[in-house]
Amino acid sequence: MSISYSCSHLDAPHAPLPPSYPSSSSSYHRLDRLYFCEECDAVRCDQCVAIEIASYFCPNCLFDVPSANVRADKNRCARSCFSCPTCESSLSIQGSDQPSENGQPGSPYTLVCSGCKWSSKEVGWNFEKPTGIALQLQKMNTQSEIVQSEFDSLKDHLESYISLSNSNTTTSAPSSVRSTRNPSRQISHLTQMAQKALHRDVGGMVAYSARVKRPSTTKEGEKEKYGWDELAVYEAKENWRKDGMGSFPNQVDVIKDLGFSGADGMAELAKIWGKSWDAGKMTGDVLPQRIPLQTKLTKRCPHPNCRHLLIQPDTKSVRMKIKMVAANYLPLIEIGRRRRRLPSNDIAEMPELERMTSEELERRRRERRRARGGIPNKEEDESMESPLKSGETYTFQLALTNPLYDPIQIRLTRPNPVSSSSSQERCNVIIPTPHFTINALKDAWAYDEEYEDDGNNDFFMGGSEAGFSEEGTTTTTTTGGAGGTIGKRSRLSILGGGSSVKKDRGRDRENGVEKKSNTSKVNLDIEILPNARKGDAIKFDLEVRYTYRSDETITPTDTEGKAKGGKKEEYKNFTFWIRVDLGRVE
């Protein structure tokens, strides 16, 4: 039960693929995760923004780590923050039980987990001071040194090979300058290689026997000479052999006799898979880790010609210096109030919705609207959590909240490519009220006045039918390029004058729209098709287009809005797509 908003990344705005394509899910994000670039007039998401790191901090001690130290510390807190090897909560430092002379708990100090009572005594870690644990540990812990020295000696070993086979290339220019695609270099490389190969001993020739003998005579393996393309055998400092011949049967025997997983068993994969040195697979072999740092990020618009800042954190506080979030630009859409329609003859008679023309749909919609006014609906409220049933029709309420200081008009449609893959569709979506408005975001007291107005209007108008669409047709302006359904909007009449009572009445006559302050609620009918099987997720996309009054004076080519009656006001459209996830079919 969620609604996510689409981001077209760097492309021109387009409807993402329908939900049956799993790759489309990466285009959809929750509204609170999205950014908005005013310059590009586009939504941006975490998958496309350019990211720079503003600062590093430890989530445990909240210390701001200077970026110069971060790499050497391996992105982990270098002070005293450790996480528990069993439950991953942070460890606290505890003095020994015997107090020292001055009455304070003294050394040795241990790390203790407050969650699972793990103590660093279990791995033999005792500290003299309660501060700078990481540094003390570095001196104590030899394991990482062994690994590093092995790594370094491997590097030295290989270096001899690399420098030998590259020796010719280091003569002319530093290797970083030279391009690998320079053909002349390749050729010179080849000739030199060939030259070396000539000097190389060839098996079956006289020199060969001399070389073969050499390993037995000269015992220093490293000093042994090898050709340009050969590498001496590397003798690992710490190899498998060191544990003695019989280590494997022991290890397997231990595992064989394990009766339980968990504390005495083998370690969780996620705790040991980051260790390249094979030091043991049991839970007891896992050591506490320093706590990983976290970052504050600066985010920029990814468009190559824009690069405007979208997010700039203040490194000293929790505030943002710049915060261009989409929630301030796009209406917030929520879904709720699920009602299941009880079966009636009316619905059973209906032909398949897909085959109906738009006129039929329109007629049906009006009928339903009329029905809603008169006959009590055969619907029952349901919990949003309970699973959906195939073959049923549900009515949901969609609430849209306007974040702008101007009223906006909404057009709700389904994106175009829906009908093409009808076999994939699990539900039919009927939007009874595709056009409606949302009031502007105002201060709280301003709404109070409006309610009084509303009350009067209700009294006068009494809830007449179909007024909205009729008025809509009369006031429709000829907007270029706008297609059939868009023609039926009365955007201008509604947006034109926010204060006049006459227009307010018009607004209130919209059917099926429930308004409260800057939120409008409309109904959405969803018919779960019988082909939906158990466990299928019911998801569908909606195209939301809103028209708003822009403050800027834009050149006429940029705007779709039209001036009416000599008024110089600009209207702009913004289209985005949302994905509604209704949960799974029972």
């Binding site: 799993p22 790594f151 070396k196 000097h199 050969e230 590498l231 055998v233 498998w240 083998m266 390249s276």
Partner: protein, 587 residues
């Protein structure tokens, strides 16, 4: 220092003594005592050849080992990766039910309904997501500053490679990327450049011979007998033979909870099976089965549905291995959604010990060769002079190979295949007697059972260099890197040594990309032009033709509605043929 003197020693080619050339410098390195001089040829500045760490660390590269299931990322020059993580998010798994980020073919991927294009898109989406996560979450570094080394598995699909390059260049703007063979890097982590690398991964097990730092791709092999197959098999066995104790539904029946054999499928999540595999399973010793080959009937027809087939396999395994293990049963506590507290799964010892037989034993039911056979087949195909050096430096890497006991068991299996059966040489009858002829015939018949006779002589050369329980003088000499991270460590070493396979810089990527786009456009234009040409030539737009019209609707060479004559096919002119494709034309 002796090296300065030895630099003047003339080489075999005999340069003048006073001007030491490169050649003489090289020649000295072949002499006995000039060990330190060979690294630095005459004429080069020592400043350029020093390969220490850079002060500011910008020169360290980013090393990424992208697996279909697990990614390992970090900086070069460090022995440990910075982070290891699954290639899929939980939400992605929920959406698609996939277990890995890509499959060997995009149309096999879960959730795409066999749609290759969508599968390809999905791979791209996942790669971008994970690469961004790598930089933002795990490495916490600016992607524009550092070069990247990508470990390329032998059979990494080219589409995945393209997606990785695109994401790195277009989304993250890295300066250069080099795709480096993971097989070679695994060897490098052991200080070698020659060896037979067996990578037991998730999607497949690949065997790549590497000789003198050249991976011999044309001789490498792969089999889907790997982690995923093992995973599924374990799931099947657990489903049928593990004991499941549900969590108590009330406080009253804590002690007499119901035990049932067989874990319900909905409880066996991917995560749980992975946990049981990594925390409970190991590989036991070789189990020599009795000679029951002939008595088992082939009952393929009796398993009509998939469920039955799975059940049959599980039963067969129980029959074969049910009482061959001395391992204790292990119990796992798992979170349960119903009832109070955790429920328990007890995994029988035989499953723990024998589940990996899937990879190591030949199964007559399946057509896949087991891993030991695959290795030996690979060695058989090698050039004869490489066999010895490669069989004596086997390197087993990959996450699945880190199952305890896997490598020693693999060695035993290999030896089992390599050593001739002992019965053959016992009682030889005199020549040309009926007995001897019978024996010869037997031998002849048995020749297929000893497919590796050719390399039996190499059996004492067999060495696994990272064998954790070395039994002879040569095996287990490699450093103790864990098998799953061997390749990554090699990548880190290569980055520290400033070497890798060819770098693709961003500029060259951009230019080659724009070239190929331009080429595509030119081709498209040409296509358009040629179709216009065609239509002017024929006087008809090809797009307007209806079905069958291009063939010609021939009333014996007559003209159709477009008024043109067409060449006839061999039976195009048959009049009155009731072919619907032609029918439209006549109307």
């Amino acid at each position: 220092m002796s090296s300065s003197n030895s630099g003047l020693v003339p080489g075999p080619s005999g340069g003048p003594l006073t001007t030491p050339t490169k050649r003489t410098a090289f020649a000295t390195s072949t002499s006995a005592d000039a060990g330190s001089s060979r690294a630095r040829p005459a004429g080069s500045s020592p400043a350029y050849s020093s390969r220490r760490h850079s002060l500011y660390g910008i020169e360290d590269r980013v090393v990424i080992d992208p697996g279909s299931r697990v990614w390992k990322v970090g900086f070069s020059g460090e022995p440990d990766p910075r982070s290891v993580f699954y290639s899929l998010d939980l939400s992605d798994i929920e959406d698609t039910g996939a277990m890995e980020a890509w499959d060997m073919d995009p149309s096999f991927m879960k959730g795409v309904d066999g749609d290759r294009v969508e599968g390809d898109r999905l791979v791209g989406v996942r790669v971008v997501k994970k690469l961004r996560e790598t930089y933002v979450k795990h490495l916490m570094t600016d992607s524009k500053a550092r070069k990247v080394i990508i470990l390329e598995n032998t059979y990494l699909p080219i589409a995945v490679k393209e997606h990785i390059a695109r994401a790195l260049f277009d989304n993250l703007h890295v300066p250069s990327v080099s795709f480096t063979p993971s097989s070679l890097l695994s060897l490098v982590a052991c200080g070698r450049i020659t060896g037979l690398v067996v990578d037991v991964g998730w999607l497949e097990t690949t065997i790549t011979p590497v000789y003198h730092s050249r991976p011999l791709y044309n001789l490498s092999r792969s089999t889907p007998l790997a982690g995923r197959r093992l995973h599924r098999h374990l799931k099947t066995l657990l489903h049928h033979y593990a004991i499941y104790i549900q969590s108590p539904t009330s406080l009253g029946n804590i002690h007499d909870r119901q035990r049932s054999t067989g874990v319900p499928m909905n409880q066996l999540s991917d995560e749980l099976v992975e946990r049981i595999l990594t925390e409970g399973c190991f590989v036991g010793g070789l189990h020599l089965k009795q000679q029951e080959e002939d008595q088992q009937p082939m009952d393929i027809d009796q398993s009509p549905t998939e469920d039955d087939e799975i059940r049959r396999i599980a039963e067969e395994w129980y029959e074969r291995y049910g009482n061959t293990s001395t391992a204790k049963d292990i119990s796992f506590r798992i979170k349960s959604t119903l009832g109070l507290g955790p429920s328990t799964i007890i995994v029988p010892g035989w499953i723990r010990e024998r589940v990996a037989e899937l990879l190591l034993e030949d199964d007559r039911g399946s057509e896949d060769e087991s891993i030991p056979r695959m290795i030996l087949n690979c060695i058989m195909k090698l050039p004869i002079d490489l066999r010895k050096s490669l069989i004596s430096s086997l390197l087993i890497v990959g996450g699945t190979a880190s199952l305890p006991g896997f490598i020693p068991r693999l060695r035993i299996s290999l030896l089992h295949h390599l050593l001739p059966p002992p019965a053959s040489a016992q009682n030889k009858s005199p020549l040309n007697t009926p007995d001897s002829r019978r024996e010869e015939a037997l031998l002849w018949r048995r020749r297929n059972r000893e497919p590796y006779k050719e390399i039996h002589g190499l059996s004492d050369k067999l060495t696994i260099i990272n064998d954790p329980s070395p039994v002879d003088g040569k095996s287990g000499m490699a450093p103790r890197w864990s098998t799953g991270l061997m390749g990554w460590v090699g990548g880190s070493l290569a980055g520290a040594l400033k070497t890798s396979s060819m770098e693709i810089t961003r500029e060259s990527y951009d230019t080659s990309l724009s070239h190929s786009i331009a080429r595509g456009e030119v081709y498209k234009e040409e296509l358009d032009l040629s179709s216009i040409e065609m239509s002017t030539l024929l006087g008809v737009n090809i797009e307007d033709l209806k079905v069958g019209q291009a063939l010609g609707a021939g009333d014996a060479g007559g003209e159709d509605e477009f008024g043109m004559k067409r060449k006839r096919g061999w039976n195009d002119h048959i009049v009155g043929m009731n072919d619907w494709t032609r029918g439209a034309v006549r109307v």
